[in-house]
């Protein structure tokens, strides 16, 4: 299988980039999660620490109130209660920092407060502990004595003096406590910051990496993650003032990444989306997806159901099976990606105005694995119609190239005028064939078989003539195509019964020749410019003029044909042409004279002329001579040409045998040599043992007779001495003077 450029891109670029991007995104996600947790804990810890001085204040305030109440001999129930709560809470907090324990944050969240281990923080904490012990003793005592009277309490009620002392002490200590708390809080904040920064570093890098990769490979799945990360970072920035600047810059990076993602998702010429194991398409997809799939509201729909409408049944079955593989985490992703059946799949969208819109889509898939399972699959889809069509054109043209090259090589050596007349001839013969075939009416149902056979023979004549002319010009492509066509026709002619169905191969072969002719004409057009300088440089003006004359063309063609045929058949020949005589006869009917001479020359070389050793053994010169000379004008006013070869001539015995088997001569008859010779003009007659490109299949003589006698009103004579020579005299009406 040929690697396609797009496949190479996928493998060498998109896949690694996609993997990297996915890895970065997951990294970002991981760090963001850690960061989130860190930020939350840091924030709550700071909140809790902040409560220390608040409770300290509360304790001082409560004791002052109690003192006042005692002084005014009023019950101090509320104040005592508040003092008790504050003291309990503060004690709890200090102990939590000392030992680490679950604590309730100011916003009411239970969380695990870690014991302080940092040296500087511990120093503050120790100070706070000292202060707190003093405060706590007094607070407890005040609660015990000023609180609700307990039965059997041995506690000594606080006097105004002792209360005053406690109040003074607590108030003073509370300031120290606040000071220490502030230092403690700052230190905690610093620690939190460090921890955040430690997480932010890799995350920032990953965000950068992801952003860059996103530009190369926009992935829809990033969207969610980036959005989440951005929310987290916004909170972070708001809540941790100290790291705000840093976070803002990061948030900016994230926003930029998101904006880029947004932009990409809006403008990318690919459909990007996620599907889950059921094939349901995720909420975010690139805008292009709706255009590619020609449907709105794609999010939440099942990709398989969408594809079912677009794909052929067989492809859809493959696709279903493939999706199962994609989500089967036991299969190696690499293997699964290799067998993607949807790399350039033809889809057929129903056309609102009827019919179908035919496109090619290229899907690529990437797994998103979470906890060892394939949670979702990232899908990218592109409209690859243009590529596919280009590739198809390329393939077609490659397939065609050899043939075109053949034709090209064939025609460069052919003079433009000759080529021109060949094109006309082929066009004419193909039209004849099509006209013959298109006569739809049959005279009667009974005569259909005969009518069809006649048509087939007409077609055969045209193809045969075409073949001869192609051979004369060494246009091997045409020669071969015509030869194959002939074989087909021959096979059909040998069938006892013919029906219209039998002609299906005939019309297809005709279409093939027509396509070749189209190629030839196209190439001929291209060659016009190419040829001119060669002709101008290499050919003298008078030679050029000579080339242009029909007789010269025919002569050249004939020499070429004989040389080729002789070479192929291992015979040695020379050709003598009386150019003047040829010119006299051919000037008025070049095509006819050319066709006839071609057929005669082909037959001579194939059937009449013996191989050189045979000739030498028979006392003849090894080199056979073919000649064309003029004949005297007849009394009827016909002008004539003689075509002669000094070969074995007509094999009358072979002709007779063949004629008898073809029913042309009765086995009991006693035909004259002339009667036997006449049989060679019968349609379908052949003496060729091995039909080949050069040999006629008997139809050559049929053409000659039809064209010269029936169509042109001329005559043909055969003069033959078997074993010595064979001469055809061709007579044509003289041009109207």
């Amino acid at each position: 299988m040929r690697q396609r450029p797009q496949l190479a891109w996928t493998v060498l670029f998109y896949v690694p980039v996609a993997i990297l991007a996915a890895a970065s995104i997951f990294g970002v996600r991981h760090y963001t999660r850690l960061l989130d947790a860190e930020i939350a804990t840091g924030q709550r810890t700071l909140g809790v620490a902040g409560r220390i001085s608040a409770y300290g204040e509360q304790i001082g305030k409560s004791i002052l109130l109690i003192e006042k109440s005692v002084r005014l001999k009023r019950p101090a129930t509320t104040a005592v209660y508040e003092l008790q709560v504050a003291a309990d809470r503060l004690d709890q907090i200090i102990n939590a920092f000392n030992e680490g324990s679950e604590t309730v944050s100011p916003d009411g969240v239970r969380f695990m407060l870690e014991a302080v281990t940092d040296e500087k923080a511990l120093a503050s904490l120790t100070q706070m502990n000292v202060i707190w012990v003093g405060m706590k003793t007094r607070a407890d005592a005040v609660v015990l004595t000023a609180g609700p009277k307990k039965q059997n309490s041995e506690a000594i009620p606080f006097t105004e003096a002792s209360l005053s002392e406690a109040s003074d002490f607590v108030t003073a200590q509370q300031v120290f406590l606040a000071e220490q708390t502030l230092a403690f809080g700052r230190r905690l904040e610093e620690l939190a910051k460090h921890r955040v920064i430690a997480l932010e570093g890799p995350r920032g890098i990953l965000i950068g990496v992801a952003a860059v990769l996103l530009l190369a490979l926009p992935g829809a799945y990033v969207f969610n993650r980036v959005l989440r990360a951005r929310n987290a970072s916004a909170r972070l920035a708001a809540e941790l003032g100290a790291s705000q600047a840093k976070l803002e810059s990061q948030s900016l990076a994230l926003s930029t990444a998101k904006a880029e993602t947004d932009h990409i998702m809006e403008t990318v010429q690919e459909g990007l989306f996620l599907i889950d194991a059921n094939g349901i398409i995720g909420d975010y997809h690139s805008r292009e997806l709706t255009a590619i799939l020609r449907q709105d509201k794609i999010a939440g729909r099942n990709l398989l159901q969408i594809l079912e409408r677009l794909l052929s049944e067989k492809m859809f079955t493959f696709t279903k099976e493939y999706f199962a593989l994609l989500f089967d985490s036991r299969r190696r992703e690499k293997s699964v990606l290799q067998v993607n059946p949807l790399t350039d799949i033809e889809v057929n969208f129903p056309n609102p105005s009827g019919g179908f819109i035919n496109r090619y889509l290229g899907f690529s898939f990437r797994r998103i694995v979470e906890n060892g399972a394939v949670a979702r699959v990232f899908v990218a889809v592109r409209d690859v119609t243009t590529q596919v069509e280009l590739e198809k054109k390329l393939r077609d043209s490659e397939r065609h190239k050899d043939r075109q090259l053949d034709i090209l090589l064939g025609i460069v050596h052919v003079a433009p005028e000759e080529l021109e007349s060949f094109v006309k001839l082929v066009e004419g013969e193909l039209d004849t064939i099509n006209e013959t075939l298109r006569a739809e009416h049959f005279a009667a149902t009974g005569g259909q078989g005969d009518a069809l056979r006649q048509r087939l023979q007409t077609v055969f004549r045209s193809v045969h003539n075409l073949k001869g002319n192609a051979a004369a010009l060494q246009l091997t492509t045409f020669q071969k195509a015509a030869d194959a066509f002939e074989s087909k026709l021959n096979e059909l002619l040998n069938r006892p019964q013919l029906t219209g169905d039998d002609f299906l191969s005939v019309v297809v072969a005709q279409a093939g020749l027509r396509a070749d002719l189209g190629d030839l004409m196209e190439l001929r057009g291209k060659l016009v410019g190419l040829r001119q300088p060669v002709a101008a440089a290499g050919v003298a003006p008078d030679q050029g003029a000579a080339l242009a004359s029909p007789a010269a063309q025919i002569g050249a063609g004939l020499r070429q044909l004989v040389a080729d045929a002789a070479r192929d058949l291992d015979k040695v020949t020379t050709v003598n042409i009386d150019d003047y005589a040829l010119h006299t006869v051919a000037a008025d009917r070049p095509a006819l004279v050319r066709d006839v001479l071609i057929q005669l020359a082909r037959n001579s070389v194939s059937h009449s002329i013996e191989p050189a050793p045979v000739r030498l053994a028979g006392g003849k010169p090894g080199v056979a001579t073919l000649s064309v000379r003029g004949l005297p004008r007849t009394e009827d006013g016909l002008v004539g040409l003689a075509f002669r070869d000094d070969g074995a001539g007509l094999d009358l015995a072979a002709i007779r045998a063949r004629a008898e088997s073809a029913g042309l001569i009765s086995p009991n008859a006693n035909p004259s040599p002339a009667d036997i010779a006449r049989c060679i003009f019968a349609p379908g007659f052949s003496t060729a043992a091995q039909p080949g490109a050069h040999a006629g299949r008997g139809m050559g003589m049929d053409i000659i007779k039809t064209k010269v006698v029936d169509e042109a009103g001329g005559a043909i004579e055969i003069h033959c001495t078997p074993g010595e020579f064979c001469e055809f005299h061709l007579y044509f009406p003289a041009a109207t003077a």
Partner: protein, 119 residues
């Protein structure tokens, strides 16, 4: 008994209508595409549906899905020119009870409908 004939070709609708047998069906409705077929099915609840496949707007296979969603017991006979095995299998997989290949004759239509109703 009610019959719903779904085919975009007037010739086919009329041919099926004649072949199905007036005596068998007291009501015969027609639809020219899948969308209308689904609508007509909901409105008339026919006992038998003959369904073409190649139709504009919505093809017969999709219409089969939607009709069977309305009534899983619907009797659907597919009458289509699509001669590949896959199409027939697909139609049956989707819940059609029979598949009749065009060109049809009065007899083949009649037999196919009787076949469906006798099950």
């Amino acid at each position: 008994m009610k019959l719903l004939i779904v085919d975009d070709s007037l010739i086919m609708r009329r041919a099926i209508e004649r072949s199905a047998g007036r005596s068998r069906f007291s009501e015969i409705h027609t639809a020219t595409n899948g969308l209308l077929a689904v609508e007509m099915f909901a409105r008339h609840r026919p006992d038998v549906v003959t369904m073409d496949i190649t139709m504009p707007d919505m093809d017969g296979l999709s219409a089969i899905d939607l009709i069977l969603k309305q009534n899983p017991a619907a009797n659907i006979l597919v009458v289509s020119a699509l001669a590949d095995k896959g199409t027939a299998i697909e139609a049956v997989k989707r819940g059609a009870l029979g598949f009749l290949l065009k060109p049809v004759t009065a007899e083949s239509v009649h037999n196919a409908i009787e076949n469906i109703l006798s099950d």
